[in-house]
């Protein structure tokens, strides 16, 4: 697993207080990990801070799963 994926997973575990085993790439923040809309905003802000990237509102809306977040951040970091 990439360093980014590891870090994303850690942030999700920390923020949502879920078990690490549940944070699979396919896991949906809202449907599988019990996040509400405010949690997703807080997660996006935590990602922004941790990876020093800016995630605009329209991109943030499309981040529904753990994989979505990893992919988006990896793309930003590669650019």
């Amino acid at each position: 697993m990439s360093e980014i994926a590891d870090k994303v997973k850690k942030i999700v575990v920390e923020h949502l207080g879920v078990e690490e085993s549940k944070v699979t790439p396919e896991a949906s923040f809202i449907d599988d990990l019990g996040a509400d809309s405010l949690d997703t905003v807080e997660l996006v802000m935590a990602f922004e801070e941790a990876f020093n990237v800016e995630i605009p509102e329209d991109a943030a809306e499309k981040i529904a799963t753990v994989k979505d977040a990893i992919d988006y951040i990896e793309k930003q970091k590669a650019a």
């Binding site: 509400d36 405010l38 807080e42 802000m45």
Partner: protein
């Protein structure tokens, strides 16, 4: 009842009449208070008056967006504790009839009285939501509800503050953070002392409780909304106006 031991509160506009009273009451109930204002000498004196313990100050010019953005973390730095309570009390007036009101009078009042409280709320909410606890009390004014000739800017800002607070209350409710408004009526402060006696008499005659308000009247209402006991009150506006406007 209404103890705030172990809580840390930031009071903006703390060197003014109402802010001073709010800070004193919160402090007396056990809170650590951080006073913010523009006049350093006055703030220093106030910290000393509070006995120096559990009292800090930060100077900030809230017409500067960057200073407003940074104030919450500065307050946490000086007090060494995360912020539990935010009191947006700072405000200014630039009264004149609309026909003579300059863009600058409008912009300045909206900026300091509405935009800057928003910035402070945004900064404070970040930590409060994470910690699943917090109290925000925004100090508006009766004129935000009733309007007042000569105060199109100020009344717009204060009405805006009420709408903003209701929205924030909805956003933050699921995390146990409350956002409420205290709307004072006519309070005797250095800011209102300059009015001629005849006008004060006229104002008093319109108040069912028969006197002008004291800063402490406002501070008590703020204390209630900051307390654990007010844990099921959010998005509310508590009018403290002697009955002048029953809304």
């Amino acid at each position: 009842m209404f103890r705030l031991d172990g809580k840390t509160a930031l009071v903006t506009g703390a060197s003014g009449g109402i802010g001073r009273a709010i800070a004193a009451v919160l402090h007396a109930q056990g809170a650590t208070v951080v006073l913010s204002g523009t006049r350093e000498a006055v703030l220093q004196e106030q910290v000393a008056e509070l006995g120096g313990e559990r009292a800090f100050y930060v100077t900030a010019n809230l017409s500067d967006a960057a200073e407003a953005d940074a104030l919450v973390s500065k307050a946490e730095d000086v007090s060494g504790a995360p912020l539990d309570i935010l009191i947006n009390n700072a405000g200014l007036t630039r009264d004149t009839l609309a026909l003579r009101m300059k863009d600058q009078d409008w912009d300045q009042v909206l900026n300091v009285d509405l935009s800057s409280p928003f910035r402070l709320c945004r900064a404070a909410l970040k930590g409060m939501l994470r910690r699943r606890a917090g109290r925000i009390v925004n100090i508006a004014s009766v004129v935000g509800t009733t309007g007042n000739a000569g105060q199109a800017n100020y009344s717009a800002a204060k009405a805006g503050m009420v709408g903003m607070s209701k929205s924030l209350a909805q956003e933050a409710g699921s995390r146990g953070v409350t956002v409420n408004v205290v709307a004072p009526g006519f309070i005797v402060t250095p800011m209102t002392d300059v009015l001629p006696e005849s006008q004060k008499e006229k104002l008093t005659s319109a108040i069912p409780l028969g006197r002008l308000g004291k800063p402490e009247d406002v501070a008590s209402a703020v204390l209630y909304l900051c307390s654990e006991e007010a844990g099921w009150v959010t998005g509310a506006t508590l009018h403290v106006n002697g009955g002048m406007a029953m809304v």
